[in-house]
């Protein structure tokens, strides 16, 4: 808890001095991703899935990675755990877990990190669980592997964990198979599995997308409790700005393989700076208005990226310079970092332009 307080204090200092928390020597990030590049080779072409992504995750915070399909958010998560499929490759960058580079580790070392210090929750609970083993066996497996527990101790601990994530009657349900559980219960079981070794970092990739609205709210609340109370860090990957607004502390908005805007969630919603962020927020339905303010065009082909700023073909602010050179991610006065030559919260003018 105290670290959360320290972090909050740091954040409030940041506001007055406009120093990024990332540059502050006082806090060491729990997880730091530096200039990560993951490319896929498809036939003789290169797909730039992740193209130079850097961010830091601190203890006690939930960092949101938000963007549309194909923006590289899931590949970023897979790259952190070195789970990128064979056709892809982490070309460069560093993934530092409290200073240790995961990309430099040998296979044994990284296996000891996965599911132990960093664990992951996937979108489809049904396909992430093995249908032929009981839920208890699957939670216990993690404990036997990483904690060296014997079978019965691990099973008892598994039942306890299921209770902690809000599964009713855990002593009985620990012996059930995944198909006997509802989607929400399966997702809770997966979270129990992810939390079994008390990891420092939880990566949740669209954890509530397959769930119903009322259950989604319950699962988000659970993740929030586990992170804030356990003083861990979470990377929450989602396309849903509603989910972001509900539980996330800081957000990275990704577009076509790069982060285009990064900042505290409050700033991002009250004063978004990048035209893409503004477009995303504007495209959400507003009560009592039948028209949506859509972003024109569609996401670019990652094998054939536009020159300059990747967003320029869809951008209402695009000028000559935007077509020539990609802007850097730069700190604005608000404390957000924005990758745009013409950042600003010109909400009203954009409403008509987009």
């Amino acid at each position: 808890m105290s670290n959360v307080l320290i972090y909050n204090v740091l954040i409030s200092n940041v506001d007055s001095n406009t120093v990024s928390p990332l540059n502050d020597p006082m806090t060491m990030p729990l997880l730091e991703v530096k200039d990560l590049m993951t490319h896929f080779s498809i036939e003789d072409k290169t797909l730039h899935a992740v193209d130079g992504v850097s961010f830091s995750l601190f203890r006690g915070e939930i960092l949101g990675l938000v963007g549309e399909s194909g923006c590289g958010k899931s590949v970023t998560a897979l790259s952190i755990l070195r789970l990128v499929p064979d056709s892809g490759k982490v070309i460069s960058g560093q993934v530092l877990l409290e200073g240790e580079d995961l990309l430099e580790m040998d296979d044994n070392e990284i296996r000891n990190v996965r599911g132990n210090r960093i664990s992951m929750v996937f979108q489809e609970p049904m396909s992430a669980l093995n249908p032929v083993f009981t839920v208890g066996d699957q939670v216990a497996e993690v404990l036997r592997l990483h904690r060296g527990m014997d079978k019965s101790a691990a099973f008892r601990r598994a039942a306890k964990l299921l209770g902690q994530v809000g599964i009713p009657d855990p002593a009985r349900r620990v012996s059930e198979y995944p198909h006997q559980m509802s989607g929400g219960m399966q997702q809770r079981a997966l979270i129990a599995m992810a939390m079994a070794c008390e990891p420092d970092v939880l990566i949740a990739d669209e954890p509530t997308t397959a769930l119903d609205v009322t259950v989604q709210a319950q699962i988000l609340r659970l993740i929030e409790e586990l992170i804030h109370e356990g003083n861990r860090g979470a990377l929450l990957i989602t396309h849903d700005l509603g989910v972001v607004a509900e539980v996330v502390d800081r957000v990275c908005v990704m577009y076509a393989g790069v982060i285009v805007e990064m900042g505290k969630v409050g700033d991002l919603f009250s004063a978004p700076q990048h035209p893409y962020t503004i477009g995303l927020i504007n495209s959400l339905p507003t009560p009592g208005r039948r028209r949506f303010i859509a972003i024109g065009g569609s996401v670019p082909d990652l094998m054939d990226l536009p020159s300059g700023c990747r967003f320029h073909p869809r951008c209402p602010r695009a000028q000559e310079v935007c077509t020539q050179e990609e802007p850097e991610l730069t700190l604005t006065e608000k404390g957000n970092e924005v990758r745009c030559y013409f950042p600003g919260n010109k909400h009203e003018s954009l409403r008509r332009a987009i």
Binding site: G242, S283, R291, F292, I295, S298
Partner: protein
């Protein structure tokens, strides 16, 4: 069975007092799917996917049908179009009971009632060109090949697709563009009624807005009456005139959309509306979500289906099914307590 337009009727369930003419009346629709079990696949029970649902869609309105997965909203939609045969109940379209019509007699109504599906990938034949897909309904209606081409090209332009799309295949299009194809196909016969079953759920946020805008533009242009099925409460709120909320096969609430959202009667509606994530991080809700999850439709709880999760539950709720009763002239709700 033909009903005369002027025939005087007693008011009945689902009727809207002082309503404009309804284009579609759904009357006591019920669908029970058999549940098979045992070695020989004997029918051992039934899932009541849709239970005695009645409502009306007025000419020119967008009527929303909202609920969580498994609540029966898609089955209900399919029964309205007679893509699934109802176990009982009727569908009255433009004063004709189409649930009783022969295939032959149904054909003109099929032209007037069209559907767009959720999955823009699964609902287009990958081996056919866009011209063949969008033109198929026109060809089946007996139009000459030359006229079909002109019509299809016009339709493609209307939904915002490039003219050269005609001879291309579905895989050459993005998700948003494929949904535009689905819309072009549905509207090629100039229907009066369009059923949109989760039309944007498979699309990215920025593309969703484009497609919804297109649908609203076309609704005006073609004078469409729409039934919009979605689990996305925000989309329903901004598009629909009226909304019906379903829970485990039953309608639990119905009314004008703003009224239902700001002043829900049924505790389930209240929970659904409360679960919509707030877009202002300063307004994060800390109150309790409804406990538990949607129970299995095979063995729904007795009485009011929502009673095990309901914060207002009283003894009566677990015994007696509440009626869907009028709360004012255009609000209905199914609750003993409120």
């Amino acid at each position: 069975m033909l009903l005369s337009r002027k025939q005087a009727r007693e008011p009945e369930e689902g009727d809207l007092i002082e309503s404009t003419t309804p284009l579609l009346k759904v009357k006591h629709l019920t669908k029970i799917f058999p549940v098979k079990g045992g070695t020989f696949g004997k029918i051992v029970g039934g899932v009541r996917a849709v239970a005695d649902v009645s409502f009306q869609v007025r000419t020119g309105e967008v009527f929303g049908l909202v609920g969580e997965s498994g609540c029966g909203k898609t089955t209900l939609g399919r029964m309205i179009l007679r893509l699934t045969a109802p176990t009982s109940g009727g569908v009255i379209f433009d004063n004709v009971d189409i649930s009783e019509l022969s295939r032959q007699k149904l054909r003109p109504y099929r032209h007037r009632m069209q559907i767009i599906f959720q999955d823009p990938f699964g609902s287009l034949n990958p081996r056919k060109t866009v011209g063949a897909i969008v033109g198929e309904p026109l060809r089946l209606s007996g139009m000459s090949a030359g006229k079909v081409k002109v019509n299809v090209e016009e339709m493609l332009a209307t939904v915002g697709l490039p003219v050269d799309s005609y001879s291309r295949y579905p895989h050459e299009f993005s998700g948003g563009q494929r949904q535009r194809l689905g819309i072009a196909r549905a509207l090629s016969l100039r229907p009066d009624f369009l059923l949109a079953d989760e039309p944007v759920s498979a699309l990215d946020v920025s593309i969703q807005a484009q497609i919804l805008n297109l649908l609203m533009t076309l609704k005006e242009q073609f004078n469409l009456t729409m039934l919009f099925i979605s689990h996305d409460l925000r989309v329903i709120r901004s598009l629909c005139d009226r909304v019906a909320v379903m829970y485990l096969g039953r309608l639990v609430e119905e009314g004008p959309v703003e009224d239902v959202y700001t002043n829900p009667v049924h505790p389930y509606t209240e929970a659904l509306v409360g679960a919509i994530p707030e877009l202002d991080p300063d307004m994060r809700k800390k109150d309790q979500e409804p406990a538990g999850e949607v129970p299995s439709p095979i063995e729904p709880p007795p009485g009011c289906h929502f009673h095990p999760r309901c914060p207002l539950v009283i003894d009566r709720c677990s015994v007696e099914v509440p009626e869907l009763s009028y709360r004012n002239k255009d609000r209905r709700a199914r609750c003993h307590v409120r």
